[in-house]
Structures are given as structure tokens and as C-alpha cells.
């Protein structure tokens, strides 16, 4: 407690140190994964990471804010197509500046990801502005409709390959930029971002909207603006996941982003717990792993998912973790106490 009375030590050196250590550890882990694990397991890890981004992002709108999007596959598609397209367009320019190599690849990839996230966020804004003035279940059906419209547009966009999909206009397909390091780098960035929003004043307002929109409005909470903000942010994270997904394979097709994909995302957050970041992350991992385990039961996957949804809603509608968080809170509290002493 004594620390609270004296002048506060600046915290940024500690944070910068933690960030540098994390990146170094992640890089080392990436090398380890590449050397030590077979490609099949690596791929599951990548999918799990992408799922975590999807689930944590969707949870901001579906869990924390209590609105309901069932068309997030559409935003993922916008991110995937934009990232792939922008990456292919700017790669030569970046290479002419930095020379071709892993640095140029990293710059290209991350620039393209940011543009993809921006476009997905923009799509979220366009969808959210009209529909978020309305109550939750209308929003659900509008997002569903928009998800379909986005897919239909990609299906007909000839410069993006139409129904056969986009492979960067080359026989080799899209470059495989997506690696363990970049996926989990973005996992950390997205979780950090969503965590900071959730536990800020804005986050409290979002929870207030979920709990009682009318009361929140009466307390002068700008409900529509905050809902649109949360929705845009959520769409942007789905865009990042889409970009990572796109560069994991040679090409993307409109049918990669069907309604099924949105359902996968909903299963992730409902299994984990609506309104819990760590729950959503666990749900994302659960879906990635269970999909692999059920590979032989592929045809029954959606039957089982549907049953899972119904049973969870009937038995434990708040999800397995509910709104609780698994956290390192106790760990940091311990550190803080040592510092004080």
C-alpha cells in the first residue's frame, strides 16, 4: 500500500521489457514448433490461433455487448480477400524497397493484414450503422443477410476469381506468409486490444447495454455509438483472422465463408461462455481440436454442433465459463506485493 502514497514509478520500461520478452519467446517457440512438430500438428495450431482471434473478437459484440451477430463469416471474408489482394499488389513494391526476403514478406503481410482489418471494420460500420439502432434479434437476421450478400458479391467479383476463388492470379497460389509466429503475435495483439476495451470505461458501458439498454440510455450512455464501435472493432478482428486464414493456404473461395463458418464461431463463444475473453479463447481452441478429432465424423459435425448448441442453451445458457475469466491476476498481484516490500 505504501507505493500508492509515494510518486508512482513509470511503468513503461516494465511493459516494454515484457513485450520484448514475449516477442522473443514467441519467436523461439515458432522456431521450435517448425523444427519439432509435424506439419499436421502445426496446421492445427495455426487454426486454433485463428479461431481464438475470431472467438475473442466475436465475443466483444455477442458476449460483452449482448448484441447478436450471426454473419461474422462475411467480415472474415472481407478481411481475407482484402489481405490477399493487397498483399499481391504491394509485394513487388515492398520487395523493390527492402529487397526480397523474410523482412519484406513480413512487412507486406502485416501491411496487407492491417488494410484487411480496416476494410472489414469498414464493412462492420456499414452493416452496423443501420441495424444497431434496433434490438438484438433484428440485428441477428440483418448480419445473417449481410454475410450472405458479401458472399454473393465475392461470388460475382470476377477480378477476385469469382466462384472458383482467388489465388493471387498465379499458378503457385497465394504466398504462405502465415506462420506460428505471426498467428500468435496477432492473437496476443487482439486479446490485448479486446481486453483493454472490455475493462475500460467503454467496456463497462457495453456491459450496461447488455444488461439493460433502456437503463443505460437513461444514464446518458450513447448506446448506438458504442454498439457500432464494438461491432466495427469486432468485424476488424474477424478481418485479421480472415487475412491469416487466407495466407495459410494457396487460395480462398467464397464458400470458405459460408453460414457454417459463422456457426462455428458462435459455437466457440457459446461453449466458452458469453462475455468471457478466456472462455472465448478456450472455445476457439476446442473447435479447432474437436474438428480434427471428428474428421471421420465430418458429415455429422454440424448435427453434433447443433445438438451441442441446443443442449448448452437448455442446461447452461451462459456457457461453460459464463462471464468469469481465467486470469493471471493472482500472479501479477503477487509481483506487485513483492515490489512494495
Amino acid at each position: 500500500m505504501s507505493a500508492a502514497l509515494g510518486p508512482r514509478k513509470p511503468r513503461w520500461p516494465l511493459r516494454a521489457g515484457v513485450a520484448a520478452l514475449t516477442i522473443a519467446a514467441l519467436y523461439a517457440a515458432g522456431l521450435g514448433v517448425q523444427a519439432g512438430l509435424i506439419e499436421y500438428v502445426q496446421r492445427i495450431l495455426l487454426i486454433a490461433g485463428i479461431n481464438v482471434i475470431l472467438a475473442v473478437g466475436l465475443n466483444l459484440i455477442n458476449g460483452t455487448t449482448g448484441q447478436f451477430s450471426i454473419g461474422h463469416a462475411g467480415f472474415m471474408a472481407v478481411g481475407a480477400y482484402t489481405t490477399a489482394f493487397v498483399g499481391v499488389q504491394i509485394a513487388p513494391h515492398v520487395a523493390s524497397l527492402l529487397g526480397s526476403g523474410s523482412v519484406a514478406d513480413a512487412v507486406t503481410f502485416n501491411l496487407a493484414l492491417l488494410v484487411g482489418a480496416a476494410f472489414a471494420g469498414l464493412a462492420g460500420l456499414v452493416v452496423g450503422l443501420p441495424s444497431l439502432r434496433l434490438k438484438g434479434d433484428y440485428l441477428a437476421i440483418v448480419t445473417l443477410g449481410f454475410g450472405e450478400i458479401i458472399r454473393i458479391v465475392f461470388n460475382n467479383a470476377q477480378f477476385l476469381g469469382g466462384a472458383t476463388g482467388y489465388n493471387g492470379d498465379s499458378a503457385a497460389g497465394l504466398p504462405t506468409y502465415t506462420s506460428f509466429f505471426w498467428v500468435f503475435f496477432w492473437v496476443i495483439v487482439v486479446i490485448g486490444l479486446i481486453r483493454n476495451v472490455t475493462f475500460s470505461q467503454t467496456g463497462r458501458s457495453l456491459v450496461a447495454i447488455r444488461e439493460d439498454e433502456i437503463a443505460a440510455e437513461a444514464m446518458a450512455t450513447p448506446t448506438t455509438r458504442l454498439k457500432v464501435l464494438a461491432f466495427t472493432l469486432s468485424a476488424a478482428t474477424a478481418g485479421i483472422a480472415g487475412g491469416l486464414f487466407a495466407h495459410m493456404q494457396a487460395g480462398i473461395r467464397p464458400e470458405d465463408f459460408k453460414f457454417d463458418k459463422s456457426i462455428d464461431m458462435i459455437v466457440m463463444i457459446i461453449v466458452g461462455g458469453l462475455g468471457s475473453i478466456s472462455g472465448a479463447a478456450l472455445g476457439g481452441i476446442f473447435v479447432a481440436v474437436s474438428l480434427e478429432l471428428m474428421r471421420d465424423l465430418q458429415e455429422y459435425r454440424l448435427v453434433l454442433y447443433a445438438l451441442l448448441l441446443i443442449v448448452i442453451m437448455l442446461v447452461r445458457p451462459e456457457g461453460i465459463l459464463g462471464q468469469r475469466e481465467l486470469s493471471f491476476g493472482w500472479l501479477t498481484r503477487r509481483f506487485a506485493r513483492k515490489e512494495d516490500a
Binding site: 441477428a140 443477410g145 433502456i214 437513461a218 454440424l302 447443433a306 448448441l309 442453451m313 437448455l314
Partner: protein, 305 residues
């Protein structure tokens, strides 16, 4: 000009199918404030029910006997499929929706999505994902009227749909059950205090709505010639948009909305591009939600705090 009228005819017959399905959405929403996502699947099961009953009764593809399929048997198929779907609707309500009726609104919504997915995928396994050719319950006859082709099937769709809608209107306005439904949609607690059996009335709502969807399914099969297990997804969504367009909870509104959606879809396909026939519905949805969220015939209800 005759092409324009042709599109209008096609649009009206498609629209009356949407209207039949939209009625189920609007009735359930009016009472439970629930978007019954599984309604599109009830429609699909109705179509398959008609398919199997007709096949069992001896209609085999398009090689129906020269006399055509007797009208009476066609009616039997229709009524049997409607009964089947009504039973399905009531079962869904009892197993999935009743336990979560008093939960926050998102819980029943997610349950409904789950039921919808479940039925789709069970249907894919049971009926195979391949499209099936619908039996010729009615033998097609063509009339030409000033360059516009009208088939007896389109006429029958229109007549059956209008007949059922008028019947529904009478049912809701004149019978005790219908009156109980209207009371529930106004205020469920007050209705319960007045001695209305809430469970029974909700059951009746699901039965009637599902039966209408099954009729829509059979007419859809006749009109579009093939059916598949996923036919309920897009059609159901369009019908829901029709209900919103007309003013959700409002029965005449659902009919008007259905006809307008059908027309809009056909005209888009005819004059803009067939690629965007499905997208136009959602454009309409967004426009109506922004401009007049209570729908064309809906009334603004003040929110009580």
C-alpha cells in the same frame, strides 16, 4: 410488355409462397417475440412430407397418368403434409422452446438456430443432399393470354395460398383459440390471468404456422420442380424479411410483405441480373429497418420501462 406481365405473374405466385411461410414467423413472433429460425426447416420438412406421401400414393415423377393426378388425392397429400409439419412444429416448441421461454431473449434465439441447423443436417443425412424432382401432383396445363403464359400450377398456388390466408384470418378473428392468440400477443400475463391456457394457445400457434409452411413447401416444390434439404434456409430468410416488411406480428402485413418480396425478386432477376435476385431481399430488409422499422402495416408500440 408481355414479359413484364410474365414477371408479375411469376412474382405473385412466388410471393404467395413467401407469404404462407411469413405467416408462421409473424404469428410466433407476435406472441413469443422469437424469430423462429427453425421455421424454414419446417417448410422444408413439409415439402419432403408431400414428396414422400405423393410417392407412396403412386405419383411417380412426371409420368403421371394421362388423366393427371386426381384433385382429391392432391388435397389428401396437402392435408397430410400439413398435419405432419404441424406435429413437427408442436414437438419443436415443446422440446426446445418451452424450457427457455422465460430466459433472456438471446437464449431462445440461439436455441432456434440450433434446432434449424439440427433439422437441416438430419435432413441431409436422411434425404441425401441431392435435389429431388418433385412429383407431379398436378398435371401442368398452359394457358396463353396476350403473350403471357399462365399455368394451372401458378393459378393453383395463388388460389391455395389465398384460400389458406383467408381461412387463417377467419380463424384468428372468429374462433376462441384465435382470440386467445391475439390476447397473448397483446399481453401474455394479463391473458393468463383471464384464464387463457397459455401453453395450449402457443401450441396451437405453432401447429397452424407450421401447417401453413408445409403448404408453402408443397407449392414451392410444384413451382420450382426440385427440392433439397437446404431449401428452407434462403426461402425461410426471405419469408422472414417479408414478415418484417409487412410489420412483424401483423397477419395481413405478412401477406403484403410476401407478395412484395416475390415481385421484387422476380423483377430483379428479370431486369437487373439473376445473380442478385437473392441479394435484393436483404437490401429491402436494411432499407425497411432504417426507414420504417415497424414495417408497412405495423404499429409503433411504445416501450414501457
Amino acid at each position: 410488355m408481355s414479359e413484364f406481365f410474365q414477371q408479375i405473374i411469376n412474382g405473385l405466385s412466388l410471393g404467395s409462397i413467401y407469404a404462407l411461410i411469413a405467416l408462421g414467423y409473424t404469428m410466433v413472433y407476435g406472441i413469443l417475440k422469437l424469430i423462429n429460425f427453425a421455421h424454414g426447416e419446417v417448410f422444408m420438412v413439409g415439402a419432403y412430407g408431400g414428396y414422400f406421401i405423393a410417392t407412396a400414393l403412386g405419383v411417380d415423377g412426371y409420368e403421371a397418368s394421362g388423366a393427371g393426378f386426381p384433385l382429391l388425392l392432391a388435397l389428401v397429400v396437402l392435408v397430410a403434409a400439413m398435419a405432419l409439419s404441424a406435429a413437427l412444429g408442436v414437438t419443436i416448441e415443446a422440446l426446445a422452446y418451452r424450457p427457455v421461454r422465460s430466459a433472456p431473449r438471446l437464449t431462445p434465439l440461439i436455441t432456434a438456430i440450433g434446432v434449424s441447423l439440427f433439422l437441416q443436417n438430419v435432413a441431409m443425412r436422411l434425404f441425401t443432399p441431392n435435389p429431388r424432382r418433385y412429383p407431379a401432383i398436378l398435371r401442368e396445363l398452359r394457358f396463353e393470354l396476350g403473350g403471357v403464359i399462365i399455368t394451372n400450377i401458378k393459378l393453383a398456388i395463388f388460389v391455395v395460398a389465398i384460400g389458406l390466408m383467408v381461412g387463417l384470418q377467419q380463424f384468428v378473428q372468429r374462433t376462441w383459440t384465435g382470440r386467445a392468440m391475439r390476447a397473448l400477443s397483446l399481453n401474455m400475463d394479463a391473458a393468463r390471468l383471464m384464464g387463457i391456457d397459455v401453453n395450449r394457445t402457443i401450441r396451437a400457434t405453432f401447429a397452424v404456422g407450421s401447417a401453413l409452411a408445409a403448404a408453402g413447401g408443397i407449392l414451392f416444390g410444384l413451382d420450382q420442380i426440385t427440392i433439397n434439404p437446404l431449401m428452407g434456409v434462403l426461402t425461410g430468410m426471405k419469408a422472414f424479411v417479408a414478415a418484417v416488411l409487412g410489420g412483424i406480428g401483423n397477419i395481413p402485413g405478412a401477406v403484403v410483405g410476401g407478395l412484395l418480396i416475390g415481385l421484387a425478386e422476380q423483377l430483379t432477376a428479370g431486369y437487373l441480373s439473376p445473380d442478385y435476385r437473392d441479394a435484393i431481399t436483404f437490401v429491402i430488409l436494411v432499407v425497411i429497418l432504417v426507414a420504417k422499422p415497424e414495417g408497412l402495416l405495423g404499429v409503433v408500440r411504445q416501450e414501457k420501462v
